[in-house]
């Protein structure tokens, strides 16, 4: 093991930061898709229809236990096979990032569904009733009264979940995607396994900065969106 080189540590930033856009793109697209799917599942969980309720609750229950790396590999190896067998569609030439986004979206939709559901339930039903009684329609009551309050309540948990998504996105390199982690991995290979400590440390610092940015951004948003609902929010503390 060569001695720790601070100079090398600094040089790692130059090597991996050019791949930050890849990491960012995956995070942003996965966030969008998992949010959309999460809203659908949350709706399903609160649905009158027992079929939808059971399906969406089952989805959340199953996906909660699924390790990210397992889902990632399952999608990466399994999805092309499945589509080829059933629909005769060949997706083997798809970019690896698409598989990553699919896996992360499916996975975090279940977490976000829970966040949205509990936030929606925490908004007092009296709010909707009051809105209806002053002449708003059911949709207006949701859109103008319930939804804004739900968003404020959901925000801290939403941010925590996205922080977890960002971290799990670091797994993308295991299927050969070259994002920041992938670039770091390549760098270590080029150095025949040396300087792995410096490389991983540099990556950890970058992830830590991203985490702090997300954390502080959320705090700022929370303050701006109003302190009135701050008491109702109870962030899930676990992000491991």
């Amino acid at each position: 093991m060569p001695p720790f080189s601070f100079k090398f540590l600094v040089s790692v930033f130059g090597e991996v930061l050019p791949y930050f856009p890849v990491t960012l793109l995956i995070i942003v697209t996965s966030t969008i898709f998992s949010t959309l799917l999460g809203v659908l599942i949350a709706r399903g969980q609160l649905s009158q229809s027992s079929v939808w309720r059971t399906l969406s609750q089952g989805y959340v229950f199953v996906l909660r236990s699924t390790p990210p790396i397992v889902l990632l590999f399952l999608i990466f190896y399994g999805l092309p096979k499945l589509l080829l067998l059933t629909l005769n569609i060949n997706i083997n030439d798809w970019q690896k990032s698409i598989f990553v986004v699919i896996a992360l979206s499916l996975l975090f939709a279940s977490n976000l569904a829970e966040v949205f559901k509990s936030a929606y339930l925490s908004v007092d039903g009296g709010q909707r009733e009051a809105a209806l009684m002053v002449g708003l329609s059911e949709w207006q009551a949701f859109y103008r009264v319930t939804l804004p309050q739900t968003i404020v309540v959901a925000l801290p948990n939403f941010a925590n979940t996205i922080a977890a998504l960002i971290k799990d996105a670091a797994l993308a390199y295991v299927i050969g995607l070259v994002d920041m982690m992938g670039a770091g991995d390549n760098l270590i290979s080029r150095n025949f396994g040396h300087h792995s400590l410096e490389t991983y440390l540099a990556l950890a610092i970058i992830y830590w900065i991203i985490f702090v940015v997300v954390e502080q951004g959320t705090k700022y948003l929370e303050k701006r969106l109003g302190k009135s609902r701050a008491i109702a929010s109870n962030p899930v503390e676990v992000t491991a």
Binding site: M1, S65, P67, A204, V238
Partner: protein, 239 residues
């Protein structure tokens, strides 16, 4: 689809469950008391230690699990080798140490950081009146802590402890990177001969589903059992 491989590998994966459970259980059990200790340091804002725990928690929570594993596993054995053998001449065969030990160490470090946050917020949700009542009947601060505050905090922390345990359980699927022979590693290795990766991952998926389901139900049960006196609802009449 290679069904016979699917079934055969499923049994192989099942046999690796004890290793997965060992890593999960050991790291959470180590994490519980240490997590309480860090939570206490954070709440009491103990000098010097307080900023250290804050930085530690932030780093552990911010860094992807895979990166932590790589970081520790690529560094720790060599570092220990240098310190223990080259400097202290202890002649310990560091590289022969069961990698499960390293896995437990890494996951325990993660568990401690997360549990310290879980306990911090759980302790803060305990009504301050409980502490006032305790000092008025003559309990010392330490007695108040472990006789009154901790038991109540533990109950309100159960759902979050459950979440953390589930996350560590899922995280052990990365322990193959430390050459630990747990569920994922065993199934992956089997698939490497025949390239039946899809089948292998379906097996792993099922095993984790079963373990996760048992864990989720177990914690639900525990939560219901411990809150049978609705411990948390006590201040309601007074509010």
């Amino acid at each position: 689809m290679n069904i016979s491989f699917l079934i055969h590998t499923f049994w192989l994966a099942i046999k690796a469950i004890p290793m997965t459970l060992l890593i999960t259980g050991a790291s959470v059990l180590i994490g519980l008391p240490l997590g309480f200790l860090l939570a206490w340091i954070k709440i009491k804002k103990i000098k010097i230690l307080y900023p250290l725990t804050i930085i530690y928690t932030s780093l552990m929570r911010a860094t992807p699990m895979v990166l932590l594993i790589l970081l520790f596993y690529s560094t720790l054995p060599s570092l220990l080798n240098v310190i223990l053998n080259r400097h202290l001449h202890l002649e310990i065969k560091i590289f022969d140490v069961n990698p499960a030990i390293y896995a437990i160490a890494v996951f325990a470090l993660i568990a401690v950081a997360n549990l310290s946050e879980v306990f911090r917020s759980a302790i803060l949700t305990v009504d301050p009146g409980q502490q006032e009542a305790a000092v008025m009947v003559g309990l010392s601060p330490l007695q108040t802590y472990y006789r009154i505050i901790v038991p109540q905090a533990l109950v309100s922390a159960i759902p979050n402890i459950g979440n953390l345990t589930l996350n560590i359980l899922k995280g052990t699927s990365l322990a193959f990177m430390m050459t630990v022979q747990e569920v994922t590693a065993v199934a992956k290795t089997a698939a490497a001969y025949t390239y039946d990766y899809t089948e292998a991952y379906i097996d792993i998926f099922i095993v984790y589903f079963i373990l996760g389901a048992i864990l989720q139900l177990g914690f639900k049960f525990l939560e219901r059992y411990l809150s049978r006196h609705k411990v948390r609802g006590t201040a309601r009449q007074g509010a």
